[in-house]
Symmetry: C2
Subunit: 157 residues, 2 copies
């Protein structure tokens, strides 16, 4: 699969989860955290004040409405820029820098894309080649992430 195909497949997989300000756009982002907190409750520890949130709490939360748009936008950006390796890697490094304060387990950068494709597959609409594309993108994300963590003298895997 070449970069252009990965980009297109990832973008297609997000067509029904567009960023925006309408209720369906807000739900597309918030829904990720509903899925995430339901299926990976141990990782709620990274969300100070929401360590015990249920999917129901997420759904009512303005914080996760905003956070949902941010992560949805980040994934749209990753897909859109994937054809441009230097820009893609720079965006990975910037994402790592912004997360430094959360002292995340470095193994989570790779794990994220399993969670993300799990969310996209939730309603049964993720094609197998789309999943493959996201995992390929995620592999490259993780490689640059670990390299940058190492260069920043931070824990890495």
């Amino acid at each position: 699969m070449n970069r252009s195909e990965v980009r297109q497949l990832c973008m297609t997989s997000l067509a029904q989860k567009m960023v925006g300000t309408g209720p369906e756009n807000l739900q597309a982002g918030r829904g990720f955290y509903e899925y995430f907190f339901t299926n990976f409750p141990d990782l709620r520890v990274y969300f100070k004040g929401a360590e015990k949130y249920t999917a129901e709490d997420v759904r009512k939360s303005e914080r996760f409405e905003k956070q949902g748009q941010r992560i949805l936008l980040a994934c749209h950006l990753l897909a859109n820029i994937f054809e441009n390796p230097e820009v893609f890697k720079a965006y990975v490094r910037e994402t790592i820098n912004r997360h430094r304060i959360y002292k995340m387990d470095p193994a989570l950068w790779s794990a994220f894309f399993q969670v993300w494709t799990g969310y996209l597959a939730e309603n049964g609409s993720l094609k197998s080649e789309e999943k493959e594309a996201w995992l390929e993108l995620g592999k490259e994300f993780n490689e640059e992430a670990q390299k940058h963590l190492k260069n920043s003298n931070l824990p890495h895997v």
Copy 2:
């Protein structure tokens, strides 16, 4: 000029100003602040602690090395995603949200693209249609920025 042409022209204008970790990449970002602080010294007020920085101070500054990469990446992202209007507008809103704490004059969002194209033109290599493309992108950036500021009950123009 259609969206695809704007995207391509903006991307081409950045080909010699790629993001990255090499010295030339770092200078491509830092150079913006050297240009900015030299030509618009009044705007240094938004950079706490650097209100009196000269271009020489910027050049020696680790803070502006990092800040330079951030703004260079942001401009690469804007160019790369321009063909996708909803993602572009979402990135504009996210940028506005992140700048809220700086209490910027809302007129600066439009002014930025004059400064940015001034920087790109500094070494004489910005083609007139590339400048036109950036200003078209900037016009759309500013429209979404002002709309989002208004919707967020913040000062707007």
